[in-house]
């Protein structure tokens, strides 16, 4: 009798352990991805808004409290290349530290100049809310030989600011100001294809329905490609993201997500999303995936 009770208790303990660990892993994933995406979006907005030469995108205004800090950047910035970044959670708090190293190109009366800037953003993050920059510190600022590039323009940062904010929103974080400015969330068509299932509807409705397959977990951005359509005011963004988490039955799920997002660039350079087409692809779990013989 006692042995049976012992066996049952051991089984139950094992099951509780499994479930609690799986959920702990998922909770960790949710916290990491939502924090990363929403902070990365703010960082992209920060750098994008510093670029004033050949400005081809508009950004949300940065809080006035950082005006003094931003005065250490040079004027007439045309390019910013982020050369490295490192995100760490500060122990025993809800704060994250985002270390960013960048190479900034700008123009002066003497010609093109470049400068290396290493700085640390500290964010206050509460789950599913927009992150707030708590402090900023400049670690290094050094002039270097001028570097020419035409890749890291304001539109480069706009696309990334958008993608990170969008993925954070899909994971349940509140709508970032950059996404709500043109109210496209209420008007864009969202088509979701997962295997033989295809559903179509508004962004809010598909985001809800999507939760039955991708219930608790988080997106990580893998790549973003921007293509200008024939009409120069229309962009096609191809976003590839990875989602890991659990479905509504608590089973682990892995998704490689491809989204084609059609964006209309309005006269004031704000973005209005017209349509989102999402498809789940074969995850890149082995080098031979896609091999034909």
């Amino acid at each position: 009798m006692m042995k049976s009770i012992l066996a049952i208790i051991l089984l139950l303990a094992g099951a509780v352990a499994s479930i609690s660990t799986a959920y702990a892993d998922v909770e960790q994933r949710v916290e990491y991805t939502t924090s990363l995406n929403s902070m990365a979006s703010v960082v992209m907005n920060w750098y994008g808004s510093l670029i004033t030469t050949n400005k081809d995108a508009i950004f949300v205004a940065v809080d006035n409290r950082w005006t003094d800090y931003r005065s250490h950047y040079p004027e007439n910035i045309s390019q910013i290349k982020i050369t490295s970044s490192d995100l760490t959670k500060l122990e025993g708090s809800s704060q994250y530290q985002f270390k960013v190293a960048s190479l900034i190109s700008y123009s002066t009366a003497e010609g093109k100049q470049s400068q290396i800037i290493n700085e640390i953003f500290v964010f206050d993050v509460s789950l599913l809310s927009l992150p707030v920059i708590k402090s900023l510190s400049l670690e290094k600022s050094e002039k270097v030989a001028a570097v020419e590039s035409d890749k890291f323009t304001s539109s480069h940062y706009k696309a990334r600011e958008f993608a990170y904010a969008w993925l954070a929103y899909l994971d349940g974080v509140e709508l970032a100001p950059s996404l709500s400015s043109t109210s496209w969330i209420d008007t864009a068509d969202y088509t979701l294809k997962i295997g033989h299932k295809k559903i179509q509807g508004s962004v809010r409705s598909i985001r809800e329905q999507r939760k039955q397959y991708l219930t608790k977990g988080g997106h990580l951005l893998r790549s973003i490609d921007v293509e200008k359509k024939e009409s120069k005011s229309t962009l096609l963004l191809t976003v590839i993201a990875e989602w890991k988490g659990v479905n509504q039955s608590g089973k682990p799920v892995l998704a490689k997500i491809r989204q084609e997002i059609t964006v209309r660039v309005l006269e004031d350079k704000t973005w209005k999303v017209l349509a989102i087409d999402e498809q789940h692809l074969i995850p890149d779990i082995a080098p031979w995936i896609g091999l034909l013989c």
């Binding site: 006692m2 009770i5 012992l6 208790i9 051991l10 139950l12 303990a13 094992g14 099951a15 509780v16 352990a17 499994s18 609690s20 660990t21 799986a22 892993d25 294809k193 997962i194 295997g195 033989h196 299932k197 397959y213 991708l214 989602w243 890991k244 479905n247 089973k251 682990p252 799920v253 892995l254 998704a255 490689k256 498809q279 789940h280 692809l281 074969i282 995850p283 779990i285 082995a286 031979w288 995936i289 896609g290 091999l291 034909l292 013989c293």
Partner: protein, 214 residues
């Protein structure tokens, strides 16, 4: 005694948290890979893939005219199946979906598959059905003739006889390149792992057993 039980339960709790959800043993659902479909079985009957619910399924794509990889894959699947116990075999279905339904009629497919194991299941269908299945599993196939790859010297499992050179030339259009992925599908129809003939048999059978025991 109660203290012992609590201690053992606590140890199990700790062990469970370290081993049961280890990254390398987890088989996540691969979202969007696979799904339900209709096909024609070897008896010429229409079946739904959902009919296999409750079984573990391994799906391979290929065609009977295939020069190398399909016989090799089926030979591998034969060894994989043989490595399972009889009870595990009854719970595991090995499914071969042709990508050349024009040539691979249900009867033809049955005879070909039967060379490897009589329990293996060959599925065919209309071109449209086959293309749908291929797209569901995000597999791929191409006619070699379209790729301008010479095919006349490729050896075959089922050699064909040609009445004239024109017929032989036309035949080159019946050879394909195709995906080599083996899809491991759980009892609910979710794709849980992608394998290939390079996967060690014991590794693959361990995954099948894991899904059987879920």
């Amino acid at each position: 005694m109660l203290n012992k039980i609590i201690t053992l339960a606590f140890i199990t709790l700790l062990l469970g948290s370290n081993t049961l959800f280890a990254e390398d043993t987890e088989l996540p659902i691969l979202s969007g890979v696979g799904g339900n479909f209709s096909a024609i079985n070897a008896d010429g009957q229409t079946i739904e893939f959902s009919n296999f619910a409750g079984n573990i399924v391994v799906i391979a794509f290929g065609y009977t005219n295939c020069a190398d990889i399909c016989p090799f894959t089926l030979g591998y699947l034969k060894r994989l199946y043989a490595a399972l116990s009889l009870e595990e075999q009854t719970k595991t279905k090995i499914v071969f979906v042709t990508i050349d339904p024009e040539y691979d009629t249900p009867g033809h497919l049955k005879a070909f598959i039967g060379h490897f194991n009589k329990n293996f299941i060959g599925l065919s269908g209309t071109q449209e059905q086959v293309d749908y299945i291929v797209s569901l599993f995000q597999a791929e196939y191409n006619k070699l003739s379209v790729l301008n790859i010479p095919t006349q010297n490729i050896r075959r499992v089922n050699p064909k006889l040609f009445a004239n050179s024109e017929e032989e030339k036309q035949d080159s259009a019946s050879l394909y390149s195709h995906s080599v992925t083996l899809y491991l599908i759980d009892k609910e129809g979710f794709t849980r792992s992608l394998e290939y003939t390079g996967t060690p048999i014991d590794e693959f059978t361990a995954k099948i057993r894991q899904l059987i025991n879920e």
